[in-house]
């Protein structure tokens, strides 16, 4: 479904991404791991259009999306959540998700209908599936950190994506919150049939859930294989797991 | 078509040079704006007011010293210093308390400053036109291509590049200059390595305003100094930094050249609506390169 080939991106002289390769099959749960500064977030930003690659290809269903802007890529079926909570702080939880549902249904430009009455059921359904329905009227900025990360995912779900990209979804979460979040992600993958690509720091989380793991170091991909093979690979152990 | 035939090569060349010399003043003023833009990331709307104060201060200083040649040269030295003082007062008393706030507040402050300085200028100097004479050395004209070319403009053609070189040396060779350039790219890093960010801001702001004041002092013998100068120049300066590339000093030079020369030719061909020519150039540039000709500093 998604294929990244030999991707490069530099900032001035600094090579953030230096030969990245990634394959995501439909229906898979794929994880990208690597030490800090390995280029994971940059890679995600390149895929979803916040950055443009210097070299290399990003193919979504065999279509090159490397040069497209974020809102176009979103329409192609990719939705993402951000590493730093990137929600609409002043709006209610309900509104946060409603914005993306409205956008998906191409209703964002309606001028003379009340927003309060549109796409209410769909928004409620998403909120319920992530467990935030009872908080729908709260101001988003007042949520706990863990709930904000869940809201992040809910906003992305509003886009009815085929591919959901999550940038460190459990960052800053407590162990219970992490378990809940990962259970949610797995459920989304199974029940909704979503293809999910995420990057993570927490090794246990990754090895417990991902079906395929890509390891990055200093901007390039070392290996992408099933968890067991990755765990046994010496290069990975040296570069990454050895430091843990 | 008669008018076009009457305009010979000599007139065109003189027009070009006049535009070039006007561009030098524009450059000096806009380089200051660009500098502040680069370091503080805020367009200083009051920049034009400081230019105007520079011109009025030059007038007063030259009158104070007898109005002759000595008066002019002294004005050229002291007027920018007066402007620097004014901007320092504004910065230390009010502006610096806003550095922690969002950029919009900084921008709004410069608006307020413009409004206040504009009326203060009116209170101090009144609404009459002032003029100052260039020094004896620079009075009159030389003959270029068979046509008269003001000596003062020749002086501007020399001063402009000197200031440009001075600024370039300053920003690339001196410690302060390098800090300012680093701050333009990454303010947090500069703070993290122990440099007092507030003083960097203050320095950048005062230097930028001083350049505006210098521009005002230099322009005073060529036009009537009056209220409203601030609005005219700031509108032009905004256009110039936009087409040149935000925060880019060489962009300010390129933008000033385009603006000054098209304006000069505009006056030649269509005096009543000469203003349209530089705007046309701006529209063309922005259509082709929406974010300016040269790279923004960040």
């Amino acid at each position: 479904m998604l294929r990244v080939e030999d991707l490069h991106k530099s900032f001035d002289k600094f090579k953030a991404v230096n030969g990245a390769y990634l394959t995501v099959e439909k229906g898979q749960l794929v994880a990208v791991i690597g030490p800090n500064g390995a280029g994971k977030t940059t890679l995600f930003n390149l895929i979803t259009g916040q950055l443009q690659p210097d070299k290399g290809k990003i193919l979504l269903n065999d279509e090159d999306i490397g040069k497209l802007p974020p809102h176009v890529i979103c329409r192609k079926g990719i939705a993402r959540s951000f590493q730093i909570a990137n929600i609409f702080h002043r709006l209610s939880v309900f509104r946060n998700v409603q914005i993306s549902v409205l956008s998906q249904r191409k209703l964002s430009n309606k001028l003379f209908q009340p927003a309060a009455r549109l796409v209410v059921n769909e928004t409620h359904r998403i909120l319920e599936s992530v467990g935030l329905l009872d908080r729908k009227m709260d101001v988003a900025g007042s949520l706990s950190h863990g709930d904000k990360r869940i809201l992040e995912i809910a906003i992305a779900l509003g886009n009815e994506p085929e591919l959901l990209i999550l940038d460190e979804p459990t960052a800053g979460m407590s162990p219970e919150e992490t378990t809940t979040a990962m259970a949610l992600i797995q459920r989304l993958a199974q029940e909704e049939g979503l293809t999910i690509l995420f990057c993570e720091h927490d090794m246990e989380v990754v090895f417990g859930t991902a079906q395929s793991i890509m390891v990055m170091q200093q901007g390039h991909s070392i290996i992408q294989e099933e968890p067991e093979i990755v765990r046994l690979n010496t290069e990975v152990q040296q570069a990454y797991l050895g430091d843990e | 078509m008669e008018g076009a035939q009457a305009i010979g090569l000599a007139a065109l060349s003189i027009t070009f040079l006049v535009g070039l010399s006007r561009a030098m003043i524009l450059f000096i003023v806009t380089s200051g704006l660009s500098f502040v833009l680069g370091v503080l990331r805020v367009p200083n709307v009051a920049h034009g007011s400081l230019y105007m104060i520079g011109a009025f201060a030059a007038y007063s200083i030259s009158v104070l010293f007898g109005g002759g040649s000595a008066g002019f040269w002294l004005a050229l030295i002291f007027a920018p210093l007066v402007v620097a003082l004014v901007s320092l007062i504004a910065e230390r008393s009010l502006f610096r308390h806003l550095y922690q706030r969002e950029h919009l507040m900084l921008l709004l402050f410069t608006f307020a400053l413009m409004l206040i300085l504009g009326d203060l200028t009116k209170i101090v100097w009144g609404a009459d036109y002032r003029s100052i004479m260039p020094p004896t050395l620079l009075r009159g004209s030389v003959s270029l291509f068979g046509s008269p070319f003001p000596k003062y403009n020749l002086f501007l053609l020399i001063i402009g590049p000197l200031v440009a070189i001075g600024l370039w040396l300053f920003s690339s060779r001196t410690k302060m200059g390098k800090i300012a350039r680093a701050a333009a790219v990454d303010m947090e890093m500069v703070g993290a390595i122990g440099i007092n960010v507030s003083w960097v801001f203050a320095f950048a702001f005062v230097l930028g305003c001083m350049l505006a004041g210098l521009g005002g002092a230099l322009v005073s013998p060529t036009i009537s100094v009056t209220i409203g100068m601030d609005h005219d120049i700031i509108i032009e300066a905004f256009l110039i930094v936009t087409i040149g590339g935000l925060g880019n000093m060489w962009g300010a030079m390129v933008g000033s050249l385009i603006f000054g020369i098209t304006q000069s030719f505009g006056i030649l061909f269509w005096p009543q609506f000469a203003i349209v020519f530089p705007y046309l150039a701006v529209v063309i540039v922005l259509t082709l390169k929406p974010t300016g000709l040269l790279k923004s500093v960040w």
């Binding site: 809102h71 709006l91 956008s103 | -």
Partner: protein, 330 residues
């Protein structure tokens, strides 16, 4: 759609105020009727600007251009052609919206703060042209004694006309802000990057908001012609634009009706200051209105950045955060 509006508590208050204003001509002297009409026109102008600034964070620093274009278009058509009045009245806002689109296209590609900077400069071209094209626009003098249709020519009838148009426009703006378009605009204001990531074409959406705002600005311009019967280049001058901006800030730029309050205060203050002759040694205080405006702005920046209504709102907000009903939470 109207049902939601009527259920708001503030709707009842607004109806009462509107009713009082409708009755005003029967008990207020003529000058005050004129004065209120001027406030209404300015209030509409400020509301139209706030669509961009408060609800979209689009720093429209030269909104006055569109006000002036609306006024000049309508005024010139009325004064110099024999076209019927309703064509002139419709042409004004359309011309303003078109100008808004043109200028917006250039400015929208720059980031927030610089958008306003470029707009000031581009808009000033229009001012310069109006100023210099003496034959068409009357240059610095402007044009006076513009023929207004009889049914709205008198002070009282123009007052009613302006009040009704203001009422209609306010309702329209309310509906627009509560629609998906308005919601999305406010989301863009708060987090444009996130909006792009959910598929919204941010720049295009903002451009649409600008066109709507400048349309209403043009309507205000037409109303100006109705009330004053004249046009002059000062309408296009950017210090006026700054004044409108300050009105929005003063009243409360994140609130719906804040700009109306701000407009009322500034217009009242300006009129009052214009009547003062001397304060101590300073003569003709009215001439230094821009100085006073600058001081007001500084006070706002330092002490009241969310405006008067914004400040009150926040007090309300804090106690209601947990119990927010749909209408309270923005």
């Amino acid at each position: 759609m109207f049902r939601e509006m009527i259920r708001q508590k503030s709707f009842g208050v607004s109806v009462i105020i509107f009713g009082v204003l409708l009755l005003a001509p029967s008990f207020l002297p003529r000058f005050y009727i004129y004065f209120l009409a001027v406030i209404f026109v300015t209030a509409l102008l400020a509301m139209s600007l706030n669509l961009c600034v408060g609800h979209g964070m689009i720093f429209q620093f030269h909104h006055g251009v569109f006000y002036g274009v609306g006024a000049y278009t309508a005024g010139l058509l009325l004064a110099k052609t024999s076209l019927p009045w309703w064509i002139a009245f419709m042409a004004g806002p359309l011309a303003a919206a078109f100008t808004g689109l043109l200028i917006g296209l250039f400015c929208i590609r720059l980031n927030r703060l610089y958008f306003g900077m470029l707009q000031i400069s581009l808009g000033s071209l229009i001012w310069a042209i109006a100023f210099r094209w003496y034959d068409l626009t009357g240059g610095d003098d402007g044009i006076h004694g513009i023929p207004i249709p009889d049914f709205i020519a008198s002070t009282t009838s123009s007052y009613y006309f302006v009040l009704i148009v203001l009422g209609i426009c306010v309702v329209l703006m309310y509906l627009i802000l509560k629609s998906p378009f308005g919601s999305t605009l406010q989301a863009i204001r708060d987090n444009p990057e996130r909006c792009a990531a959910v598929g919204i074409h941010v720049r295009r959406h903002q451009l649409k908001a600008i066109v709507i705002a400048t349309f209403f600005g043009g309507v205000a311009g037409v109303l100006f012609v109705v009330v004053e019967g004249s046009i002059y280049p000062g309408l296009l001058f950017w210090v006026l634009s700054l004044e409108i901006f300050i009105m929005c800030l003063l009243g409360g730029w994140f609130t719906f009706a804040g700009p109306i309050l701000g407009a009322a205060i500034i217009v009242s203050l300006r009129t009052f200051v214009g009547t003062i002759q001397n304060i101590g040694p300073i003569e003709n205080v009215g001439e230094y209105w821009t100085l006073i405006l600058g001081v007001i702005l500084i006070l706002l920046i330092f002490f009241l950045p969310e405006g008067i209504m914004g400040y009150n709102y926040r007090q309300l907000f804090r106690s209601r955060m947990k119990y927010s009903s749909e209408s309270q939470v923005e």
